[in-house]
Point group: C2
Chain length 310, copies 2
């Protein structure tokens, strides 16, 4: 099979750290260009904009959009209209409404659209889903607690409208939970703690339920120092399953059952190539919809002002 | 044709003022019961709960759910699972996620589900859509400004999480705009003014765009005294159309072209009976999704405390 000629638009940190090596290691792809007004990569053509890329590289098949969410909609629609397949970094857009429009653009263009949720490709996620599919689930507790000053130094956009605050990592937990639990669930209550100098929450406490009344709790915290926690605990009738370390470890009743090495982005690119080869799209807005529901229904409390250096 | 045996669940103000007369005037329906723990209606059986209604009235075909949004999901799923068609007052749920689940319940039960947006059935809305469909639209301005103290006295739930504040009327404007404009649109910016003693906005200033870059502005205000404003202005290449007074008047360049009398709820019930007769559902979450997008991406500013009596 011919490799897929792919370009990366938006060559920032996540593109360099994750997308580039995943593409280079996958024989399904040939990286043919980078589009970024500021960053560049040697060995391939570099274009200052998506416009220039689409105009000058007719052999291009697909674009990985790693630009900020605010640019996703117009760029995705532009690339699709030019006949390119599109992969979107998470979240797939700044608003739910524009993601619907991107989906419509993909349908009109008859091209593959992949709204990627990288955490779903963490090594133990599939094992967790399989294990849970055969058990009766009684309770779910999500704990996603990290130190924003360590992981996101200087990322002031997190605190601006649309930056989502602690939901930027929290949406990864929701992308896993929506993938491993057997039924859709929906928000019951949300408590959002917002620093008085910020627009978005620094901590959130959420409860969800599904149609069978399953209690699901989630605690998101951006001020966790010491050990960092990215765990989902699921109590079942035969014991407790814990998906730990962001989906890389599967524990059953305090025994490590499975641990795999990180291949989230290779997994995403494998999926994207399958979608392209089979003429399909994969656009699941569920995680972003949960975040929007929490902002719509959350009770806000004012927290101490946040400073990166405090 | 046999009339549809319908019951009203939640017999509050909107049910008594609008749903009851619409059902009584429509030969497609026979009102067979009321379910409400507090309110009652003479001449038909009254049940204290939806449970009791579903258990004791096997001949029931359909339920109009006029209960608060917080109860919609469980009640709708319960009625659908019992084989009843369901009409939902606006908004169709407290969260977008639970509306998806109600849709899935309707599909499983093979029953009609109607998420109603009453303002779409205002008399001039269809005329406005038809007129616009043949013109080139250049700009849209929505002005939805009313006095909350006059129209919503004592409705403290408006200011609680999920109460939506000024978006409670504003969503009516969005339900009309999404029905009369030719293409989907999506939020660009939102500014939300939230009284310091409330959880939800008392005023909002929104900008939207569609894929062709159409500029759409919306001003929602809950503190309008004097003349009340529920207008949508659409500038086209051949003049300005104004849909005024909540959709009851159509003006073209300051000339009143059409005015009809209110039959929003009769229109809703006509639509619901068609859906039931043809085995279809009509669930458009677009207006609620715009509100969620605005809460997700809005910039909040603190406004003076609100008091009903001030």
């Amino acid at each position: 099979m011919q490799p897929i000629n792919i370009a990366i638009a938006g060559f920032g940190k996540i593109a360099r750290d994750q997308h580039l090596p995943a593409i280079q290691a996958d024989p399904n792809y040939r990286l043919v260009a980078i589009a970024d007004p500021h960053a560049s990569l040697s060995g391939v053509p570099n274009f200052p904009s998506l416009d220039a890329l689409l105009e000058n590289l007719p052999e291009l098949d697909a674009v990985a959009l790693c630009t900020p969410p605010q640019l996703r909609h117009s760029q995705a629609c532009q690339a699709l209209a030019a006949g390119k397949h599109v992969m979107l970094e998470k979240p797939p857009g700044a608003t739910l409404s524009e993601v619907e429009d991107i989906k419509a653009s993909a349908t009109r263009a008859n091209r593959s659209l992949f709204a990627s949720w990288h955490s779903r490709y963490a090594p133990a996620v599939g094992h967790a889903a399989a294990w849970l599919s055969e058990r009766r689930i009684e309770r779910v507790n999500i704990e996603w607690k990290e130190d924003v000053r360590h992981w996101h130094p200087g990322q002031t956009w997190l605190w601006e409208p649309g930056g989502m605050g602690v939901f930027d990592p929290g949406i990864n937990a929701l992308s896993i939970a929506t993938a491993i639990l057997p039924r859709p669930f929906f928000l019951q209550t949300a408590s959002l703690s917002v620093p008085e100098n910020c627009q978005t929450p620094i901590a959130a406490s959420l409860t969800f339920s599904d149609r069978d009344g399953l209690p699901i709790g989630a605690e998101f915290d951006f001020l966790q120092t010491g050990p960092q926690t990215w765990d989902i605990h699921v109590d079942t009738s035969v014991g407790r399953m814990t998906l730990a370390q962001g989906g890389s470890q599967l524990w059953i009743d305090d025994k490590l059952e499975y641990e795999g090495k990180d291949r989230e982005y290779p997994g995403l690119y494998e999926r994207f190539s399958q979608l392209i080869r089979t003429g399909q799209s994969d656009v699941d807005v569920t995680p972003l919809r949960h975040v929007a529901d929490a902002f719509l229904n959350g009770r806000r409390t004012v927290a101490a002002p946040f400073s990166d250096s405090a």
